[in-house]
Amino acid sequence: MEFFVLNLLNGVAFGFILFLLACGLSLALGVMGILNLAHGALYMVGAYLGWTIAINQGLNFWLAVLVGAVAGGLLGLIMEWGFFRYLHGQLNEQVLLTFGFIYILTNLTQWIWGPIPKAPFTAPFLAGSFPLGSYTYPFSRIATIFIGMILAVALWWLLERTRAGAIIRAGMDDRKMSTGLGINVGLVSTAVFALGAFIAGAAGVLGARMFGVNLELGLNVLLYALIVVVIGGMGSIPGAILGSMVIGIVDSFIKGLNPDLGYFSMYLIMIIILLVKPTGLLGKRRI
Amino acid sequence: MEALRVEGLSKDFGGVRALQSVSFSVKAGEHLAIIGPNGAGKTTLFNLLGGQLSPTAGRVYLFGREITNMAAHSRVHLGIARSFQLTSLFLNLTVLENILLALQGTRSSRFQVFRSATAYEHLHTRAQELLDSIDLRGKEDDPVHALSYGEQRKLEIALSLASEPKLLLLDEPSSGLTTAESADITSMIRNLGADVTVILVAHDMDLVFGVAERIIVLHYGEIIAEGTGERISADPRVKEIYIGEEAEGSA
C-alpha cells in the first residue's frame, strides 16, 4: 500500500514537471507545426542558470525560477525569430536545426559550468521531508504537484477562457483563415513559442530536485516530453496533462519495480501509440 | 458488355452522408457524364470508383468483377484510370519524367532495380506519342511547375491515358481551361476509340453535350435524373436545381 502511494505521488510530481515541459513542445507543434527538439535543452539551461542563482549565488529560489524562465523565453524568442519562422513545414530541416541547437546549448553549458553535474537542489524551505508511513516524502515534490496544478489550470484558463487563448486556438485550427480575420498569426505564434520556452526554463529549476542538473538533460527530458506529446496529442493542453500523468505514473511504477525496464517501456509505449492512434489520445491536429 | 456496375453505393463522413445508395451501370465503350451542383458527391463517387476511398455500403463491379474494397493501385491493373480535379502531377520532375512514370505504372519493368530506365526504347517512343497528342512536344525537359495551368491540365489527362485504360474517369478535365483548350479536350475524348469507356464529371455543358451519350445528375449524394442530353435538359427537377436555385437566390 505504501509502495503504491509513494510511487503514485512520485509519478504525479514527475508528471507535472513533464507537463510543464511538454506543453511548450505541444503548443509549438500544434500552433506552428514546429518540432522543436531543443526544448529539453531549454529546460537544461534553465536548470543550470537556476543553480547559479540559487546555489552559487545563494539568492532566492523563486528568483532562480524566474531567471531560468526568462532565459528560456529569450532563447525561445531567438530560435523562433532567427530560425524557425523561415522553416515552416520543413520537417527535415527543423529536426536537423533543433538537434544542432541541442549540441550547441549542451556544449556551451559544458563550457561555462564544466562537465561535472551539479547537485540537485530546491528552495530551502522545501528541503525537508515529512513522514509517510515508514518512508519520508520530500516537501519539494508536494510543492511541485501544487505548482504544476496551478500552472496547468492557468494555462487551461488562458486557452479556453480568454480572448488571447481563442486567438491561439484559432491559429492552431486554421492558420490562413485566422490571418484572413486580421489576426497577426506570426506574432501570436512567436508569443506562444516564447511562452512555451519560458515555462520550460522555469521547469528546469522547479524540477532540479527530481531530475538533477547535468548535461544529459537535453536529450533525456526531450525523450519524455516527446512521448507525452505523442500520447496526449499534439496541440492539446488537456492531452499534455493526461499524457504527463500517464507517463509519470507508469514510469515511477516501472522504475519502482525494475529500473532497467524503464527505458524500454517508454519507447514501446510511444511506438504503440504512434501505430494505433498517432494523433494521441486527445489530439486534434494531424500533421 | 457492362464495363461498370455500381449497386447501392453509399459513403458517410462522420455524420455527413456524401453519397446515398447510388446505383447505375455503364456499357463498354459508352461515354457517360455525371453532373450536379457543387457538393453533390461527384468527386466522392470518383474516389470510390478509383479506390481512393472505401464505401460505407454498396458494391462496385468492373467488367463483372467485384472491386468494392480493392486497393487503388490494383484497380489500375484491371483497366481503370482516373484524372484528378485538383491537378496531381509531379511538379518538380520534368514533363517527360511524369509521362514515363505513368507509362511504367502498369509495366512489369517497374520493379527493375538494375537496368537503366533509358534502356526502354518503346516506352520513350510511346511517351513521345502521348506528348504529341497533347501538343507538348519540345517541352519534355521542362519541369512541370513551369508549365501553364492549361498545359498542366492536359498533362494530367495524358497521365491517366498512359495505362491504356478500358475505363477512364475524368474529373473536371476542362476546369480552368480556355474555350479552345476545352475543345481540344473534347476532340481528344472523342478520338479515344470505341473500346474505351469514359465517365466524365464536368460543369462545362459544351463538353458534356459534346461528348456524353448519357448523363446522370447527382444532387446531395443521390441520383435524381438519368438519360440523354435532351431528356435531362427538359427534366423539371434538373432545371430546378440549376435554375430554380438562382431564382430563389434573387428573391
Binding site: Y103 | G51, L101, G105, A117, D141
Partner: protein, 333 residues
C-alpha cells in the same frame, strides 16, 4: 540530368569529358592521393568512405523516397555488433562469413522495423524511427551479456580475409574499404537510374498519384527501406575494424543525425551528395579535434544551423548547377 539529355544530345568530346570529370577528379583523389600522403590521412579517408556508404544508404530512403528516418544508425549498429560479437565473443574470424551475416542481420532488422515504421508517414514516421532506434540503443546499452554494454567490444584492427599474401596496414585497409565504396556507389547509381529508382522519386513527389498510376507504393517503400538497411549494414560491418571498438554510441541517435547532416549538406537525393557531405563533415571534425577538441559538438551544431539556413539543397546540386552552366556555356562556344 534528364533521360532526354542522355539519349538525344550528341556530345562533343569536350562535353563528354565534362561529364566524366567528376568521376576522374574523385578517382584521382581517392585512388592516388592515399599513396602519397602520411598514413593518418588514410585513416581519415577510410572514415570518410565508411560514412559515405552509410550516408548513401540513408539517402535512398530519405533523399529518393522521401522517408525521414531518425533511427538509421540501428542498422549500422546491428551489422557492426553482429561482426563484433561473432569475432570477439565467439572467435569466428573469417571476415567474409561474419560480414555477410552482419549485412543480412541489418537487412533483417530493416525488414522487421520497416513493417512497424511504414504504418505511418511524415512526422509520425520520424518519431517511430526515432523510438525504434532508441529501443535498439537501449538494448545495446543494457544487454551486457550480448554487447558488453557501454564498455563495448574491442576489435582486432584488420579483417581476416584468409589471404596469406596480404599485409595489412592503414593503406591496404583503406583500399579494401574503397573497393566496397566503389561497389556501393555503382549499385546506388544503377538503382536510382532504374525504373524502381524513378518510382521511388515519384513516391517522394506525389505518393497518391503514384498509387493511382498502378504502383503499390507501400511495397516500394518497404523494399527501399530494406535496401537502405542492407547498405547501412555494409558500412556497419566495416566500421568496427576501423574504429577498433564497437560501442552502443554507434547505434545511437548521434550517428543517425550525423548521417542526416551528411546527406543534407551534400545534397539529399543526389548521387554525389553523401560523399561530398562525408568529406566536409569528417574533415571539419578532424580539424576541430586537432585545434579545439572540446568544442566539436558546438561546431557540429553550428554546421547543422548553417546548412539548414543557407545551404538549401546542399552542395552537390549547387555544384551541378555550376557544372551545367560551364558545360552548356562551352557548347554555345
Amino acid at each position: 540530368m534528364t533521360l532526354a539529355n542522355l539519349k538525344n544530345i550528341r556530345q562533343s568530346p569536350r562535353e563528354q569529358w565534362l561529364r566524366w570529370a567528376p568521376y576522374i577528379a574523385a578517382g584521382v583523389v581517392f585512388v592516388l592521393v592515399p599513396l602519397l600522403v602520411p598514413t593518418y590521412i588514410n585513416s581519415l579517408l577510410t572514415k570518410i568512405l565508411i560514412f559515405a556508404i552509410f550516408a548513401i544508404s540513408l539517402d535512398i530512403i530519405m533523399g529518393y523516397t522521401g522517408l525521414p528516418s531518425l533511427g538509421h544508425a540501428a542498422f549500422f549498429g546491428v551489422a557492426g555488433y553482429t561482426v563484433s560479437i561473432l569475432l570477439v565473443l565467439h572467435g569466428i574470424e573469417n571476415f567474409w562469413l561474419i560480414a555477410l551475416l552482419g549485412i543480412l542481420m541489418a537487412a533483417l532488422a530493416a525488414a522487421i522495423l520497416g513493417i512497424i515504421a511504414l504504418r505511418v508517414s511524415g512526422i509520425y514516421f520520424l518519431l517511430v524511427t526515432f523510438a525504434l532506434g532508441m529501443l535498439l540503443y537501449s538494448m545495446a546499452l543494457k544487454w551486457f551479456w550480448l554487447t558488453r554494454g557501454v564498455q563495448g567490444l574491442p576489435m582486432v584492427s584488420y579483417p581476416d580475409l584468409g589471404l596469406s599474401w596480404l599485409t595489412w596496414n592503414n593503406t591496404s585497409f583503406y583500399y579494401f574499404v574503397f573497393v566496397f565504396f566503389i561497389v556501393c556507389f555503382f549499385l546506388m547509381y544503377r538503382l536510382v537510374n532504374s525504373p524502381f529508382g524513378r518510382a521511388l522519386q515519384g513516391i517522394r513527389e506525389n505518393e497518391p498519384r503514384m498509387h493511382a498510376l498502378g504502383y503499390n507504393t507501400w511495397l516500394y517503400k518497404y523494399i527501399a527501406f530494406i535496401i537502405a538497411g542492407l547498405f547501412a549494414g555494409v558500412a556497419g560491418v566495416l566500421f568496427p575494424y576501423y574504429a577498433r571498438i564497437m560501442t552502443p554510441y554507434s547505434v545511437g541517435v548521434t550517428i543517425s543525425t550525423l548521417a542526416m547532416l551528411i546527406c543534407i549538406i551534400g545534397g539529399l537525393g543526389t548521387l554525389w551528395g553523401p560523399l561530398i557531405g562525408a568529406v566536409v563533415i569528417i574533415v571539419v571534425e578532424y580539424l576541430s579535434s586537432v585545434y579545439v577538441p572540446e568544442r566539436w559538438p558546438l561546431i557540429l551544431g553550428g554546421l547543422f544551423a548553417i546548412t539548414v539556413m543557407f545551404l538549401r539543397g546542399g552542395i552537390a546540386p549547387y555544384l551541378l548547377r555550376l557544372w551545367k552552366r560551364v558545360s552548356y556555356g562551352s557548347a554555345k562556344g
